[in-house]
Symmetry: C2
Subunit: 378 residues, 2 copies
């Protein structure tokens, strides 16, 4: 007996994956075609898995249009491990400070780990809509409802690198441009919007993204890394914290999360063959987000977007209702109607509709319809 | 259309999982019962996942008979990360050396990472059957065909800890007793035999085991840690490398590998409810191994066991044939007959039949039958 899903998944992550991918995964649990073994019991040293890694790297290169001087790695430990590995590798012992942006909950986490490893400077913290917030060290009181404009950022041309997060999932803020200077290594946490749109990857020295938003299940993290930047890397870390070890071992320095990597492969195949590439994916994601923002904007203030219009995320649509009571009623009614995972992040409350690659236009349309009906009744 | 597995999986790891577990996993890929969402898209902050973690911890405690002063953690990074985290936490800054055993390929890896973090001493290295091997630093030339006896080990009562590996998967050597002094913190890598037999967990300060042999898919590592030992822990590591962070966060300091953890839960349920506990599992594993060793021992030297009889592993049965040509012919014929993963580790060659918890007696009997037939024909 097979159950079918009876909930549409708007969770902030882990998030929904494409149905055609899930069907292939389901088959692979018992036996991977052409192998005859469960995906959960195939050796990472097998020829089959070598082909998985090879095709996956090829697909990521193809989707991003990546030049040959980039490495594509599949690591463990999530974005959290990258928060540390990056400053361990390029900040320890530096006299110049790295530049960081603090644009929301998750970039806040990246600051703490960088500070532990070397000198760093927070270029921007905040801010409220309409004005920048003075830098402070009491993050809990900082509003994050808009992103900085270029003329608000004073980049240091001698910084060892500049780090930012392209999409803040908690606040629903997303940069719609590449930030920073082309002569300073640019590092970006794209955990929540990687492969959701074209990203000009060749302008970054390092991009990282955990899988559990747009790419696959939790447990694997993609790193795209420019070879030349490794010349500046420190060499004193244990192997599992050293990018060069993972490059030399083609991401199997130690046993990798075989299953999670296989699912990411299937998602990249889906992006290439069913969606038709990142420009198409971007168009689909834009249409999905527009549908929800339209309902919000046409609600006469019943639904209030948390993010400044110019910085609205295509991945996480965050909004409030007139009161906390309205929001609780909304969440309960939505759950009842088959919409799952709509509660805002525990640090900010409110509502968050996460509409990653795997969530369909039909699911978004259904939520938009529900929102209109709910508004009419309340 | 559902494929069925057409290969019996004797891989060194990731290894075979129980069929009843795979069937439940297959259903969960589309929708977890009582949740209505794919296991790949369920939030680690959901009530459902909190229950998964709670039950899993309870099951591990129950299987091991663990006292309440132990923590049970689910981490990323495999045994490799533990090779570093342990000396980072208890060896950095120490003036006394930790005691390590070098009994095979994998314990060799643990030495390298310990040496990086603080003073350590290799108590034993080798050895050939019949005599101990002098300590040397040319591991590739060291034979590993037996384990040390108690009177060959001179433990330091002031060591910050003693570290060993209970089962060497490459060589097929397994300790059949608890090693070390009760007054020195005892640390054991049980990656390849955890939950395959009772282990007197309360005599260890720390036990760790990656999942991909007996517990589940690659991507999660179980750590069992005595609370009191944390009082001696250093406090200067980033959060993801600090056991206390993971304890305080109940293993969701950052997004955990939700899927892999769910599979481990199903395996612990299987151990408790279908197998009936670790004593029963041990009896089954003993019978499985005995079947293969019997064929080897009754082959008039055609099959030659690599391990000393007293130290033979119940998990990895390693042997050679009269020549490399015989071995190649054996592997090809076995693959043809539906036996997968029998090649020995690339560092030693030969044949290795890995017979973890999930592999059935029937599969082992089939291999034993094949071995007899092959011998008769060659």
């Amino acid at each position: 007996m097979m159950l079918t899903p009876n909930q549409l998944n708007f969770s902030g992550g882990p998030g929904a994956l494409p149905e055609s991918v899930l069907q292939q995964v389901q088959q692979a649990i018992i036996a991977v075609p052409d192998v005859g073994l469960s995906i959960l019991g195939i050796s990472h040293r097998s020829d089959w898995f070598a082909n998985v890694m090879h095709e996956l790297e090829h697909n990521v290169r193809s989707l991003l249009g990546l030049p040959p001087n980039y490495h594509v790695l599949m690591l463990q430990g999530g974005a959290t491990q990258q928060f540390s590995m990056i400053p361990m590798t390029w900040l320890r012992g530096s006299t110049e400070a790295a530049d960081y942006l603090h644009t929301g909950y998750w970039s806040g986490k990246s600051l703490t780990e960088a500070q532990r490893e070397g000198p760093m400077r927070v270029l921007w913290q905040g801010g409220a809509i309409g004005n920048a917030t003075p830098l402070s060290h009491t993050p809990s009181s900082i509003p994050f409802s808009r992103l900085p404009m270029d003329d608000e950022l004073d980049f240091n041309p001698r910084a060892p690198y500049f780090h930012y997060i392209s999409n803040e999932t908690v606040e629903g803020l997303q940069f719609q441009r590449v930030l920073g200077r082309d002569d300073v290594p640019r590092v970006c946490d794209m955990s929540s919007d990687f492969l959701s749109r074209p990203c000009e990857a060749e302008r970054y020295s390092l991009i990282y993204a955990h899988a559990q938003k747009n790419l696959g299940p939790a447990g694997v993290t993609v790193v795209v890394l420019r070879d030349e930047w490794l010349l500046q890397a420190k060499q004193d870390a244990p192997g599992f914290l050293d990018y060069r070890t993972h490059i030399a071992a083609h991401s199997i320095y130690n046993t990798p999360p075989v299953f999670a990597i296989y699912v990411v492969l299937l998602v990249t195949r889906w992006l290439l063959n069913e969606v038709g590439g990142l420009a198409n994916m971007h168009a689909i994601n834009t249409a999905k987000a527009a549908r929800l923002y339209q309902v919000i904007d046409e609600s006469d203030g019943f639904y209030r977007s948390r993010a400044a219009v110019a910085d609205r995320s295509l991945m996480n649509v965050t909004f409030n209702l007139p009161s906390v009571e309205h929001e609780q009623k909304f969440l309960a009614a939505a759950q009842q109607a088959g919409f799952s995972g709509l509660a805002g992040h525990r640090s900010v409350g409110g509502i968050r509709a996460s509409i990653y690659n795997g969530l369909t236009q039909e699911a978004v349309d259904a939520l938009a319809g529900f929102m209109k009906v709910f508004r009419g009744l309340n």
